[in-house]
């Protein structure tokens, strides 16, 4: 079977900057950050007070009470994003379509809030037992399973967990499955809810979280800011989408991945660069075709300087004509959901011809000498864009997108 073009016909999101894609875009296209004081847990014993939290989130606003006992916060975020994505796609699932639909989700940590509560009960409160639904709430594949049950989808369904690259790996594999004809539809993306006390203490010990805010590519950057949320896409063959009269919001045209084989936490320009080149090759694109890169851009000293080197190595002189921004400066680093949030940011950037800025930018860094769209959004028409994810453990995944055809 010849390769099929893959259209994005639906998307949904929940994040610190919005409970749906309209709110999300309204914030990031204006450079408005969702980073603020952590409220979901007591922050008094943390060295960093801030995160990109979905403030005021209430389970009961989205789920019936009999359902919530089965859902961790991470799975809820993924389901909320899925519902919006399915709604925007106007897809109708027939029984034949359900068998030919894939679900591929990403999450780095799964239901670790549930795990934190269970361990608190055992170790701190000296209880002798934990909630009996802990295991199905904690499992990283819980989101994929709940999506399949909610929509009766019976095709291939699985979850990828590659730390901060999880969603990009998930979306990339779903893209390939649709492109190669293995399935006729895919629901893909990821979700994360990392704001538990135990997990935040683990991040504190890594000394990579800023006590201030996320300032990617800025000389005074002081680290990342953890975020939470979910993002989901509906992918289907271009011709099928056209045939059913669906609105096509954009296209995925390439996916590349690589491993650094270098260090468990320090990034490698060589490894990440191979993932970027691989995505370009998969898309059949010359580097000069790319107009915008949604960077991994965590705001750590190491990532941003290395990512700059990656972009310079791969793009050569074209690096000076590229626009690059890190939307993590607004929605935070949502770990296994990062790629999904950033895919939606990238699709909307191409479609709406506005490039979101790198917010919280203060001072240029010679080690990050790219056009990083500091603070002010930019009107620009680009045909192709990349979205980078470079994970702890040196696992890299890069997606290439194309704006919807006129």
């Amino acid at each position: 079977m010849p390769r099929r073009r893959v259209a994005i016909t639906g998307f949904g999101v929940i994040s610190a900057v919005g409970r749906n894609s309209a709110e999300f875009w309204a914030a990031i296209s204006r450079g408005i950050s969702g980073i603020g004081a952590i409220e979901v847990i007591d922050r008094s014993q943390l060295r960093f007070p801030n995160a990109a939290e979905v403030h005021g989130y209430r389970t009961e606003d989205y789920f019936a009470s009999e359902r919530t006992s089965l859902l961790d916060r991470f799975a809820e975020f993924g389901l909320i994003a899925t519902r919006e994505a399915v709604r925007t796609s106007s897809i109708e699932f027939t029984s034949a379509a359900r068998e030919r639909t894939a679900i591929v989700t990403g999450s780095a940590m799964g239901g670790q809030t549930t795990e934190d509560i269970a361990f608190w009960d055992l170790y701190r409160l000296q209880r002798s037992r934990v909630n009996p639904l802990s295991v199905p709430k904690i499992m990283t594949n819980a989101l994929a399973s709940h999506i399949s049950m909610e929509y009766g989808i019976t095709g291939p369904a699985f979850t990828l967990s590659t730390a901060c690259s999880s969603s990009n790996h998930a979306i990339g594999h779903a893209f390939w499955m649709v492109r190669e004809g293995m399935v006729d539809l895919a629901l893909t993306g990821g979700s994360e809810a990392p704001l538990s006390f135990g997990n935040l203490k683990a991040w504190e010990a890594m000394r990579v979280v800023s006590s201030d805010t996320c300032r990617p590519f800025s000389k005074n950057r002081s680290g990342m800011i953890l975020g939470e949320g979910g993002g989901m896409l509906v992918l289907e063959p271009w011709d099928a989408a056209r045939a059913r009269g669906a609105e096509i919001f954009g296209e995925i045209v390439g996916f590349g991945m690589s491993a650094d084989a270098h260090h468990i936490t320090s990034p490698s320009a060589d490894g990440a660069g191979r993932a970027v080149k691989s995505a370009l090759a998969d898309a059949g694109l010359a580097p000069e075709a790319i107009g915008y890169i949604n960077a991994h851009g965590t705001g750590t000293l190491a990532n941003d300087a290395t990512e700059t080197a990656v972009i310079r190595n791969v793009f050569g002189k074209h690096a000076d004509r590229l626009a690059v921004s890190s939307t993590k400066s607004m929605h935070g680093h949502a770990l296994g959901a990062a790629g999904a949030l950033e895919a939606i940011a990238t699709i909307l950037s191409l479609r709406n011809e506005i490039l979101p800025p790198t917010a919280n930018f203060v001072e240029p860094d010679p080690a990050c000498d790219l056009d990083v769209i500091p603070n002010i959004p930019r009107t620009a028409s680009c045909e192709y864009a990349l979205s980078n994810s470079f994970a702890f453990g040196g696992l890299n995944a890069v997606l290439a997108f194309r704006r919807p055809a006129a």
């Binding site: 060295r47 000394r207 006590s211 680290g223």
Partner: protein, 91 residues
């Protein structure tokens, strides 16, 4: 600079890198001692335990040599023992 603190820091580095403490110069940088970012995290973790202190990220970033670590720890230990409780929590 406190001798007692210096001895503990040298011992911690010696144990981590499996080298005799007397071979470690006070002015050695962490890079020269082949202590990478992850080793550094473990070293600071051990020193926090040893001295019952919290090393803020900003202070840790300034600890790039054995001498800087000892001087930084001296300061944090002095703050911890200071009468003003606010001074001990300057993160």
């Amino acid at each position: 600079m406190s001798d007692a603190v210096a001895q503990k820091v040298l011992a911690a580095i010696a144990q981590m890198k499996k080298i005799p403490p007397e071979t470690i110069a006070l002015d050695s940088s962490l890079e020269e001692l082949r202590i990478d970012s992850l080793d550094g995290l473990n070293l600071f973790f051990d020193l926090e335990e040893a001295f019952d202190i919290s090393i803020p990220d900003e202070a840790a970033k300034k600890m790039q040599s054995v001498r800087q670590i000892v001087e930084g720890l001296d300061q944090l230990i002095a703050n911890k023992n200071a009468p003003n409780p606010l001074a001990a929590n300057q993160d």
